[in-house]
């Protein structure tokens, strides 16, 4: 595709802007900023990838992955601001997911150890892990806040913090991973996954594209469950002190005022 044909694609940006104006949806500003950001970010990534692929140096690969982890952490940490040390808990989770998935992929020679494979797969894993951690943190903080009475009851009867928060923890892990699991049940029937579609359009053999997509789906499943569970078990202890007392959770409105 040439840049000229790509610029024609901007028509698809104009349509929502015109609609937004006529219907007073107020989405113009966000649409424009989203468009500009996606152009700049993706083009930058494209050139960086080209550079990394050409140099084939492990340092650049690691650097790119670290960058992804930092960006994902930046994005997700706001959702868990009421949890002490959430930044490091997120970093630990993303690093673990990355090492686990790449370890298995490379260890069993499922994918070749080249930047061309490692980077896009890492991007998908960390990106998905980020979305999952946001889903989890959203749900967990609201579950904890809504069920403080129950937590306190269990503590007051001599339960441990883990027992006192167990139900909220499990509910939040389930709720955040269900969309990933559910979407896999209808995949291919309702929509073709973006990566597979891209590969097919780029001329790949559809069956091979499907095989690859399946691999990604299974990886995403692992990333989803591992992210929620690990983040959950890392997070809940910081809601309590060493006297097994529930710390006052700073409510969202209080946080925003600072």
């Amino acid at each position: 595709m040439s840049y000229l044909t790509l610029s024609l694609a901007l028509i698809f940006v104009l349509i929502p802007i015109i609609l937004s104006k006529t219907l007073h949806l107020g989405l113009e500003k966000d649409t424009v900023s989203a468009t500009v950001r996606s152009i700049i970010q993706l083009l930058a990534v494209g050139y960086i990838l080209q550079f990394v692929f050409d140099s084939e140096h492990i340092i650049y690969i690691i650097l790119m992955i670290l960058l992804m982890i930092i960006a994902a952490t930046q994005n997700a940490r706001k959702k868990g601001a009421s949890i002490k040390g959430i930044t490091w808990k997120l970093v630990a989770t993303y690093v673990f997911v990355e090492i686990l998935t790449q370890g298995i992929l490379l260890g069993f020679n499922i994918t070749p150890a080249t930047a061309q494979y490692i980077i896009p797969i890492s991007g998908m894993m960390i990106g998905n892990s980020m979305v999952l951690s946001i889903l989890f943190l959203n749900r967990f903080t609201s579950e904890v806040e809504a069920n403080q009475d129950e937590t306190e009851l269990i503590l007051s009867l001599g339960g441990t913090p883990k027992q006192a928060i167990h139900r909220q923890l499990i509910t939040s892990i389930q709720a955040s991973t269900i969309p990933t699991i559910e979407s896999q049940k209808t995949i291919g029937l309702v929509q073709l996954p973006g990566m597979m579609s891209g590969q097919i359009m780029a001329g790949a053999d559809p069956v091979q594209a499907v095989q690859f997509q399946l691999l990604i789906l299974f990886l995403l499943l692992t990333a989803a469950v591992v992210t929620s569970a690990m983040l959950g078990f890392l997070s809940y202890p910081s809601l309590f002190n060493e006297r097994m007392q529930m710390l006052k959770i700073r409510r969202k409105d209080e946080l925003n005022s600072h």
Binding site: D149, E150, E152, L153, I154, L155, S156, L157, G158, G159, T160, Q163, R167, R243, M244, Q245, M246, K248
Partner: protein, 243 residues
């Protein structure tokens, strides 16, 4: 007036505040072992907060709390909370059946509550045994209070902190509960601390009484003090000018 007794809980200069707002100010005093002490005072006086301190749900900003001659911090929190049991003002339930709620104190320790014992507890608080498998969300406020009391008794605490446990009960049920608590007190020597808004109840069931206001203890002594208070604020409170 001097009272001589064995204190089971002693507080000295206990302060507690929330985000800079003082809630309990310099509380000093003690609760006699094996006796019933009632706590009265207007809403927001800090009575519930005092109970939460004694059960270890919160810790004071300063001051000392001694339980059975040992500083409260020296206890393992779970052990402390089983020994100093609390029936919360809100009578919070976990979702599920009455039985699940009654067994909670034991299931938290990986044990089971025998069905016969559960039925016995229901009878003790004046609930029909057919309620055992009823979902708690189908209970009335009063029934919940009774389940909450029964549940607190499961741990067989040495000290019972009862926070407004009869506020939603009819007169007969209220008397049943008073009788039950009296029996627990006599039979097991359990120390009872009982917060109530009902001054008549505070007078009749209490051996001793604390009157609290605005985070302070205003008067303590034998419960008959409610008949002849000395402090002007207490007089007004008893006449009903406050709240």
């Amino acid at each position: 007036m001097t009272i001589t007794y064995n204190p089971i809980i002693e507080l000295s200069n206990v302060n507690f505040s929330d985000r800079g707002v003082p809630i309990l100010k310099n509380i000093t005093g003690s609760f006699p072992e094996g006796r019933i002490t009632t706590l009265v005072g207007p809403s927001g006086a800090g009575k519930t907060t005092l109970f939460r301190l004694c059960n270890g749900l919160i810790s004071p900003d300063s001051g000392e709390i001694i339980i059975k001659e040992k500083a409260i911090e020296t206890y393992d929190p779970t052990e402390l909370r089983r020994k100093v049991g609390i029936a919360l003002q809100s009578a919070t339930m976990i979702s599920g059946s009455v039985y699940k709620n009654l067994s909670l104190p034991l299931s938290l320790q990986g044990k089971q509550l025998a069905k016969e014992r559960a039925i016995e507890l229901l009878n003790d608080v004046g609930l029909d045994e057919e309620l055992l498998h009823r979902n708690v969300k189908d209970l009335s406020g009063g029934q919940r209070q009774k389940v909450s009391i029964a549940r607190t008794l499961v741990n067989q605490p040495k000290v019972l902190l009862l926070d407004e446990i009869t506020s939603s009960l009819d007169r007969v049920s209220q008397q049943d509960i008073e009788e039950l608590i009296g029996k627990v007190n006599k039979k097991y020597g359990t120390t009872i601390l009982w917060i109530t808004h009902n001054l008549e109840q505070a007078l009749t069931i209490g051996d001793y009484t604390w009157v609290m206001m605005a985070g302070e203890v205003i008067e303590t002594g034998e419960s008959s003090l409610l008949n002849h208070p000395t402090d002007e604020r207490v007089k007004r409170f008893i006449r009903g000018d406050m709240e």
